[in-house]
């Protein structure tokens, strides 16, 4: 039987967090659907949350957890406004393809 550590080291959480963050980032870059991009952003946010909580345990302080609350609040706000924008774009373009939305071209 392998000799598993009894507690999971903080590094493990950080690596997991990095991997999930990378996957999320990949989603933002690969997906053309605004909705899926949005979900990928949520995934990235959660990955960051994970490392905050891991650090909180590591340093024995609550501040990391508190930050997660704020991130969640921001995420909620972001989702509300972001989805509203997507709905708005869909109304005018009948599409959520992000590449159609390039009016800000310089």
């Amino acid at each position: 039987m392998m000799n598993f550590p009894t507690t999971v080291p903080t590094e493990a959480y950080l690596i997991l967090s990095a991997v999930l963050f990378g996957i999320g980032a990949m989603g933002v870059m690969l997906r053309k659907s605004a909705l899926t991009m949005f979900m990928s952003v949520e995934l990235m946010l959660n990955a960051v949350n994970l490392s905050f909580v891991a650090f909180a345990r590591h340093f024995g302080r609550l501040d990391g957890q508190i930050i997660v609350f704020f991130v969640m609040a921001v995420a909620a706000a972001e989702v509300a406004v972001g989805l509203a924008i997507i709905v708005d774009i869909f109304r005018s373009r009948r599409s959520v393809d992000i590449d159609d939305v390039n009016w800000l071209r310089g």
Binding site: A25, V28, M37, I98, W103, L104, G106
Partner: protein
């Protein structure tokens, strides 16, 4: 009553303010009453103040400080650059009486002269304002307040010359007068800086409430720095040449005749143009320090007197003859100042105020009677149509050419005598005396020419430019009364300066000089006095010269013995020079005005091209860089996401590498 001195300038100011505020509503009678009443009150208070002042024992001057002006701080930190205060001394006494007195007469005259004028109230506002400003100028107790009056009279002059501002020539003349004066004021301004730096005060005299030591309490302070002792008088001379229309800045005065004639009489003959003379007389203690400055002044005066007289010979406009005559007479005053005979200058200033105002008003009466005709060639024989005007004018004529017994005789001879006396010490002055004597002859000539052409012979102006018949008529009584008063003044004003060789007094100087002495007596060592016999000879000479000039005019224009046109042909190089006014205007136009304009237009295009252009270059550069960079802004969200992530990656990698 001396404490009420401040009311003397304030009344005209109140009159101006009242007419400015209500002049358009209250009707012409009220406007005239307010305007004349305020000046009359001012005159009466002035007389009263002068009498009170003379009754003081051994008076040098009376100083009345009114309120702080440019000053700040309190206690030991207080700084008094200048305060508002008045000074009454013999010099300002004479000036106040002249200004308020002549001013009063001209206000009265204007009622008739300007009766048909739409801008009636405006005219009297300006005239009252001028009286106020001139009184401030002569009553100020410090240089800065005097400069205020000095500038304000320039303003009023501008406003009144341009009174008929819809005439382009009037508007241009007003501007020319103001700007030319400003050039002169530039010199005064620098002189004021020097005074402040050297004395730390502008007060003429120290006294309670002001500086402990005034400029004139310690005029020798500048002797320590020789340059300053010369510079201040020279800079003030620049102002004098502007205000008193001397070479090289006299060009504005003939143009100033665009204004209404009473204005020409008051401002451009009797009072404002004598401001420069007053300034030098007031500051004579500074001039006494610098013989060089005095000589400059005398030379300017003599040359101006001569040049202006020669130009006057060829003028055909009655007002222009008088204008050049004024310049010439001011030249005499300045010559007197330059000779150190300040009292003589002030004396001539006073007599000149009477007879020149008289002649201007007479000319105004003529113009009025001829329906705005000013050309001498279309006058003639007016004595039959307007007798009062003619005979008062003749009095003025006799006074100015120096007919014995009249005012001009005494004052002009005093100047000649003093210049001659100075010449005994400094021979250059003998040359100036000769020039002045010649000018006396020319003066007699052109003045006689004018009188003969206008009032004698036959009337030549039967038809005006529009073909209407012109019948000359005498002016209304309101215009004639001032003429008569001034004519009387032109006769008797000189009697306060009768030389002692005629009165048989023991004093070497005349009564007016005695009176003025506390204020203007030269402090130098070289004020010469002459033997009575010498004075008699000099007087005889000047009378002879004047007689010769008048006789020549009689031959040319009265008897017709010599044809003036033929004579002019003989002297054509000279007449052309005179008619071109010695080319001074042309010189200014070519050498200064056009060059300044050229520089200015160059700078304007420079500003547009270089200063503005440099901005354009920067803008172009930025815009070019922007158009390169904008290619990267394709507007694709995912593209931005990649860029962001790549950037974050680079930052991380960099911090990893350089950890």
């Amino acid at each position: 009553m001396l404490e009420q001195l401040w009311l003397v300038p304030v009344f005209p100011l109140l009159g101006a303010v009242a007419n400015l505020a209500f002049g358009r509503q209250i009707g012409r009678t009220m406007v005239s009453l307010i305007a004349i009443g305020s000046v009359a009150l001012s005159f009466l208070l002035g007389v009263n103040a002068v009498l009170s002042f003379m009754s003081l024992s051994a008076p040098h001057g009376f100083q009345l400080r009114l309120f702080d002006w440019i000053s700040w701080g309190a206690g030991s930190n207080a700084v008094h650059v200048a305060d508002i205060g008045l000074l009454l001394d013999p010099l300002s006494s004479v000036m106040v009486l002249v200004v308020a007195g002549i001013g009063l007469l001209i206000h009265m005259y204007s009622v008739g002269y300007m009766a048909e004028e739409p801008g009636y109230a405006r005219y009297f506002v300006y005239l009252n304002l001028f009286t106020f400003s001139m009184l401030v100028l002569v009553l100020a107790n410090n240089f800065l307040l005097m400069f205020v009056g000095w500038e304000l009279v320039g303003l009023c002059s501008y406003l009144l010359i341009g009174f008929w501002f819809t005439r382009p020539s009037a508007a241009a003349a007003g501007k020319k007068a103001f700007i030319t004066n400003r050039v002169g004021d530039f010199g005064v301004l620098i002189a004021l800086f020097l005074i402040w730096v050297n004395w730390g005060t502008f007060d003429f005299f120290g006294g309670p409430g002001g500086a402990a030591t005034g400029v004139f309490d310690d005029p020798g302070r500048v002797l320590a720095t020789q340059g300053v002792a010369f510079a201040i008088p020279m800079l003030l001379i620049l102002g004098v040449t502007g205000k008193s229309a001397q070479i090289p800045l006299f060009v504005w005065l003939p143009d100033a005749m665009e204004g209404p004639t009473p204005v020409s009489a008051l401002i451009h003959a009797a009072t404002m143009v004598t401001g420069g003379v007053y300034l030098v007389a007031r500051a004579h203690l500074l001039y006494d320090q610098s013989p060089d400055a005095l000589l400059t002044l005398a030379t300017i005066g003599a040359l101006t007197a001569f040049v202006a007289a020669t130009v006057a010979v060829v003028q055909t406009d009655i007002k222009r003859v008088l204008a050049y005559s004024t310049v010439s007479q001011l030249g005499f005053m300045v010559l007197a100042l330059g000779s150190g005979a300040y009292a003589a200058a002030v004396f001539h200033l006073m007599t000149h105020a009477f007879f020149k105002a008289l002649m201007f008003l007479g000319a105004g009466s003529v113009i009025h009677g001829l329906h705005e005709q000013q050309d001498l060639r279309r006058m003639g024989g007016l004595r039959r149509y307007m007798p009062v005007t003619t005979w008062t004018f003749v009095v003025g004529w006799l006074a100015i050419i120096g007919a014995p017994g009249l005012s001009g005789f005494f004052s002009k001879d005093l100047i000649l005598a003093r210049t001659f006396a100075r010449g005994l010490i400094d021979p250059v002055y003998l040359g100036l005396y000769g020039l002045a004597l010649l000018t006396v002859g020319i003066t007699a000539f052109y003045m006689s020419r004018m009188v003969f052409l206008a009032f004698f012979g036959d009337f030549r102006g039967g038809v005006d430019d529009h073909g209407h018949a012109v019948i000359p008529h005498e002016s209304p009584v309101s215009m004639l009364v001032p003429l008569v008063v001034l004519a009387i003044g032109s006769v008797i004003a000189g009697w306060i300066g009768v030389p002692s060789f005629l009165t048989g007094g023991t004093s070497p100087v005349s009564a007016i000089e005695v009176f003025l002495a506390p204020a203007v007596a030269a402090t130098g060592v070289w004020e010469g006095t002459l033997e009575h016999l010498t004075e008699i000879v000099l007087t005889g000479m000047s009378v002879m010269v004047a007689l010769a000039g008048a006789s020549l005019a009689g031959l040319l224009y009265l008897s017709g013995a010599v044809n003036p046109v033929a004579l002019a042909m003989v002297f054509s190089p000279f007449t052309r020079l005179f008619e071109a006014r010695w080319y001074l205007d042309d010189f200014y136009r070519v050498a200064i005005v056009s060059n300044v304009a050229r520089i200015a237009s160059f700078l304007a295009s420079f500003d547009l091209a270089v200063i503005g252009g440099s901005v354009t270059v920067v803008v172009r550069t930025v815009r070019g860089a922007g158009s390169v960079l904008r290619a990267s802004q394709a507007g694709y969200v995912r593209g931005y996401a990649v860029t962001m992530l790549a950037g974050a990656f680079l930052v991380l990698a960099a911090s990893w590498a350089f950890r």
